[in-house]
Symmetry: C2
Subunit: 240 residues, 2 copies
Amino acid sequence: MAGGGAAASALSSPWRALIQRALDANAHLRHSTYFQLATVGAGGRPANRTVVFRGFQEHCDKIQINTDARSNKIVEIRNCPSGEVCFTELAHLYQYSWEQFRISGSIDVIDSSSADPTKLQHRENAWFTSSVKSRLQYLGPQPGIPVLDDEHTKDVHLDPSAGPVDAFCLLVLDPEKVRHTFFSPSLCWCCLTAIRLLNFWSSAMFTVDYLNLKSNQRLIFTRSLNGEGSNDWMAKTVCP
Amino acid sequence: MAGGGAAASALSSPWRALIQRALDANAHLRHSTYFQLATVGAGGRPANRTVVFRGFQEHCDKIQINTDARSNKIVEIRNCPSGEVCFTELAHLYQYSWEQFRISGSIDVIDSSSADPTKLQHRENAWFTSSVKSRLQYLGPQPGIPVLDDEHTKDVHLDPSAGPVDAFCLLVLDPEKVRHTFFSPSLCWCCLTAIRLLNFWSSAMFTVDYLNLKSNQRLIFTRSLNGEGSNDWMAKTVCP
């Protein structure tokens, strides 16, 4: 679900296949779908927390995150609707190597008060895609308030066919800038040749030299802001 | 080095032993010392990136990060000297469980222009504690500028006994608020008893109930701001 592997082939964003490959390679690791979401919090100070990647929205590159509508981050995001997520994935093929994806963009908060039927449908889809166990957390007390007794350990029941509860909120980050960094130690020529062959088979769509593993590499993808839903991405290789 | 295990026993901050235990448990994983640093970037927008935890500063709980003085984050931090780091550590004893530490505070930028001899000494210590390979990256071109040719792959030489180069910068985050969240699925009573015994032996210093693993748990530690170098921390258990 989170990786959205099947949908990846139909994508046009040049960075999407890079992240898809990293996610697929780490699919056996539960934490591969965790990433960190930075927002601007109270007093203009940065806030950062780990969230779960809930996949890309259908037919686009928007990133979905489920959260509690009562959490602090909702107030923060309504006040400053920008975010940057940071994926850090191990590059298993290459020992001691890892990839980082920094994706910044605007964040849309979709809760039960949304007036847009399409957005409400996305929220409902996200609810039903979650496990029943995940849904149960939205029936607990408000996040961040002091625990006065054992009320948060009380058993709660949820009808699996019931729609999203009020506390369930879908965050949708619309990427505007994607920064990809590949950190790798120097590799021997045997490894380099093997990796080149592998990449040649799998990523003909990239014009950038993704194979320069003798040093670290960093790519910046920026979306042209020439219209709603624009998907024109410009890639630039920069010093790491 | 990064874990600072030996020093941990002399600490008074109640959160420090929690993070130390998580780091020690994950010491065999190279990425256990990676964490994400959020700052406020250009236009007041959040910025987020993975950095390497370089340990706590001697005799205190300040968190050290090495970085390139020419990177964007230096400008950002000078403009808004606040940051929040997010450690995410797997809780290996408990399957599918993980711990999150969110540590926010002010950030001090220590580069070659610092007028404080003590800070310059900390910077020099950080330089020599890094591997020679790590130091080499500060001899490369400015991070983030376009790669025009293969100049960034050129071989560079560094005298291992030479002090820090101008591009080497030490960031020091002084924690003001620490939020700890332990995410765990429901455990059977056998596991719970084993964990309770283990925790009883290892963490008598905590007054909080760290053992309530039947649900997720979240702690907030806040430092009293009643003086320079204050180390009075207040712990509060809140709903996750």
